[in-house]
Every structure is written in C-alpha cells, then in structure tokens.
Assembly symmetry: C2
Homo-oligomer: 305 residues x 2
C-alpha cells in the first residue's frame, strides 16, 4: 500500500522561505566589509539598510533557480547576496530627497533620515560596488570563471541603464508626464523585472542549465517581477499599513500612475493573475525541484505585506 | 659610427598622451550604452560628464602599464574605459549639493546644475554600473576569464569601502573634525591612490606580469596617486584658474585641510617630490617599455592644470 505524505503548501513555503532567509542573512553578515577596515559611519549606514528586514526575494529566487536546475547552492550564496546588496542600494538612492523623498521604508526611517543625505548617497554607492567585489571573489567558489563572468554581465546589465537605472529614470520623469500603459509596462520591466530576471537567470547560469531552461527562467523572472510590482501597487491601495511598513495610499496622494489608477483595481488584479499564470506555466519543463519557484510565484500574488 | 636620435621628452610625452587620449575617447564613445536603448535624459547626462574634457589619466596609466609589461593593448581598452567611467561617477556624486556642493568642474557647470540632482545621482549610479558591464563583456577580449575576474576584483575593491568610497566618507567627515597628517594620508590613499593603483595593477594583470612587477607597479600607482592629490592641493593655491577649469583658493575658503595648509607649501612640495621619486625608483626593474610610466610620473609633478 502506498503511503501518502500530505504537505500543506503554505506551511512548506513558509518553512522554505524562513530557511533560505536565514542562509542569506548569515551570508550577508559574513560578506559585508569588516568593521575594522571601514569608516564607522559608512559601516553603520550600510548595515542599517541591509538588515532593515527585507524579504530577500531576489536572493531566494536565485537560490531556488539553482535548486531547480541542479546546481551547487553553496557557491551561489555570494551571487544571491550580491543581488540583495544591489537591491538595497537602489532603495537607499530611490528614497533620497532628490528622488522619491521617502521618510520611511519597511516601517523604519530611511537611510538619509538617520545618517544624512551625504552618507546615504555613499552607502548606496558602497553597496553597489561591494556587490561586484562579492561577484568577483574567488574563495570557495566552485563554478568556472567563464560562468562567473556571465553572471556578472547578466547582473550588471540588469542593474544598469538597460535595466533598473533606466527604469528608475523613466519613473522619475513620469511624475511630470503621465505615462500610458505601454510606458508603465516598460518602467516596471526595467525597474523591477530586470533584476528579478537576472536573479533566476544567474542561478541557471551557475548550474550550467541549457538554453531552453534559461529561456523558461527568463519568462518566469520577467513575469514574477512584473507581478511583484503590480502587487506592490495594489497593496499601496488595499494593503495593511502595519504589514507593509509604510503608508498605504501614498501613490494616490502623489498622483502616481500605477496599474490600479490606470485600468482600475479589477483589471490590475487580472493582469497580476495573468503574469503569475505565465510564470508558473513557463516552469512546465522542470521537474519537482522547481516546486519552490512555483510556490514563490503564488506567494507574490497572495502576499499581504 | 653610432647615430643618436635626440627626442625631447616633453614633446614625446605630449604626443603620447594625445594619442592615448584619442584611443580612450573613441573607445568611450563606442562602449557607452547606445542612445536607442537609453532614456534620453540619462543618456545626455552620462555623455555630458564623460566627455567634459578629463585628462584620462587613469585609463592612460592602465594602458601604459600594459605596455610596460608587454600585454595586448587592444584587449585592455575596455578596462581602461571602465576606470574612466568609475572616476567620472565619483566626480558627479562628489559634486552633489549633499556632498561638496560644487557648481563647476573642468570649467563647466557640474552635472546636477544642468540635469538636476535626481538625474545626476542616477547618472553616477549608471556610470558605476556600466563600468562592470564593460569589465565583464566577452567580445574581442583576448585575456583569460580568470584574469578578467582578477581585474574586476582589483577595481571593485579599489572603488569600494576599502578604497575610494571609504576615502570619500572620511573626507566628508573630515570637514567637521580637522584631520592630522596621518588621517589626511589615509584619505588620499583611499580616495585617489586606490583607483590609480588599480589602474596600473589591472594593466599588469592583463599582461600576466609576475609578482615582482605587480609589486613594483603597486608602489608606483600608490605614489603617483598620492602625488596627484598633493599636486591638486598645491594647484588649488597656486594654480592658473583658467588651466584648472575651477576656482583656485577654494580649499582655503572652505577651511579644508590639505598638505599645504597642514605643513606649509615648501614641505608639501617636498612631499610631492618624494612620492614621484619613489614612483620612478619602483620602475627600475622594467625596461624601456616603461618610459611612458616614468614620464607620466614627472608630468604629475609638473602639470599646471
């Protein structure tokens, strides 16, 4: 007689995310520049934002992609952490008075509110730079130099003008000229989609995955990234202020164009669902090792904060 | 009978610098992200500062180190350009209102004066990121992936917290607590010395130079970098305003601690000469292919702007 083990998917995912978060947090502590070689102000500012309680979704997606493609998780950890450093730098710079001028992030005062604008600019610059220190380190890395260069290229492109910085520029300028749906898509694709796509693609590159799997993960990453941004915009309207750690309704107050404001809440939710469906469908060529990637896509749609 | 060709060292150096500058300028045009894939505002802002008339001393030193160690100049060009992108990003961010609040740089309005603070922050971020896109590109590169990773590690470390960003942080904070000679040395070493050292070391890594030559070039780079900074401080007091492209006397007006203000002009000049002597002495193990490196050291001491 067959024995069936029934696992609740929510509790599995919760335990999985918790475990992965722990790996990432510990590695981040390990990889950040040591206190004795760092001016104390920049050390404190960098640590403040890196350990301000992020969800670590980019590093976790990277590790989940390594798992789905049968690669070595331990060697992928520096890459996963580098993605988080780049994400954190982008938040610090986005929050600056000259940019979005945000006072709170994840329920805590933003970096420049605590350390001043000059140190916040430098802390962002430092995190971006240290990401590449991490990506090019040689200690305990088991994948080839060629693959590592490909990972650096992938991540740098995603963070650069063609990706995140291009998206942020468009976003800053969109405050003056209201974007239409096409421009909004392009902003989301660059600003959020590019780095999330690079996270899963990097995982696949580390494993040496074939072209069809790289392609599938590119589709997955882009759609999860776009969904993530739409979910954020929806939560900004309907979310729980405490879970979000920042004010809800702030987009509307700023007159910011989002999917909900552009096409209404129902259509925005439909769009979100479509992206998640496309992301999950793209994983059909993978075996059960892609279960975490499948569940994370669902989590992006259902998250409350 | 022996025929002696007498070459005037100044006119040789002048022609050399001009030629190398041309190679670097052309390559920068080639390597910067294309206009069609870039939001126009960031494209303009990046081009404005990259082509604002810099001396290109870091890329030229990198190429001169490749030459001195017998490597392939053409494959080193992306590395040389990446160094200039990082240098340019650091100038844009240093000039920001929250940092040094400078209105002019090289005789032209600073980036944020033309494009606004938000675009200037993003342009700096973009240049730093695109430097790593360039360093990890694979097209037409003839040196191994291992060497390329070593170059990325060298440059990222030099630009990061242990180097340039650490130095800039110390410099920003030094405005409050007047530094002594040791702290000032440490600021210069990190802020200017680290990236110039990385420039020459990268050249040597590309060529596959042995440890003794790497060591010698590290000494050379550090001393030229320190000399460069002291020369800058001296020019800020005695320089020709037009050649400098920025106001002289600005350090004194800001009450900024420099070598001239700390130890007097004569001692500062003596210090400058010592660094140049050490730099040139370190090249004794090299043959005549190191002539440009020797002459550039002299040029740093004698430059007028």
């Amino acid at each position: 007689m067959e024995t069936k083990v029934i696992v609740n998917k929510d509790s599995f995912l919760e335990a999985y995310l918790q475990d992965r978060r722990k790996i990432v947090e510990e590695a981040l502590h390990w990889y950040l520049p040591a206190e004795n070689n760092t001016p104390p102000e920049i050390y404190k500012a960098v640590h403040y934002s890196v350990f301000a309680g992020g969800k670590r979704i980019r590093p976790i997606l990277c590790l989940a992609a390594v798992e789905a493609t049968g690669g070595d998780l331990a060697s992928a950890t520096p890459v996963a952490c580098a993605l988080e450093l780049i994400h954190t730098y982008s938040l610090i710079h986005d929050d600056l008075p000259a940019m979005d001028n945000d006072d709170f992030r994840r329920g805590k005062p933003t970096n420049h509110k605590i350390f001043g604008e000059n140190i916040a600019i430098l802390a962002g610059d430092a995190l971006l730079t240290e990401a590449f220190v991490l990506l090019s380190r040689t200690e305990k890395i088991k994948f080839s130099a060629e693959k590592r260069l490909a990972v650096i290229q992938e991540i740098a492109q995603a963070a650069g003008i063609a990706g995140m910085i291009g998206g942020q520029t468009m976003d800053v300028l969109a405050e003056k000229s209201k974007p239409d749906a096409d421009v909004l898509y392009e902003i989301h694709r660059r600003k959020t989609g590019a780095l999330i796509t690079a996270a899963v693609k990097s995982g696949a590159i580390i494993s040496g995955a074939r072209e069809n799997k790289l392609q599938a993960l590119t589709t997955y990453g882009l759609n999860v990234g776009l969904a993530f941004q739409i979910a954020d915009d929806i939560l900004n309207v309907e979310g729980d202020r405490e879970l979000m750690g920042k004010g809800t309704g702030s987009d509307a107050a700023l007159g910011k164009v989002t999917y909900p404001s552009l096409m209404g809440m129902d259509q925005a939710k439909e769009k979100l669902r479509q992206h998640i469906d496309t992301a999950i469908d793209s994983l059909s060529i993978f075996d059960k090792r892609a279960l975490p990637l499948r569940l994370i896509a669902g989590y992006v749609m259902e998250r409350k904060g």
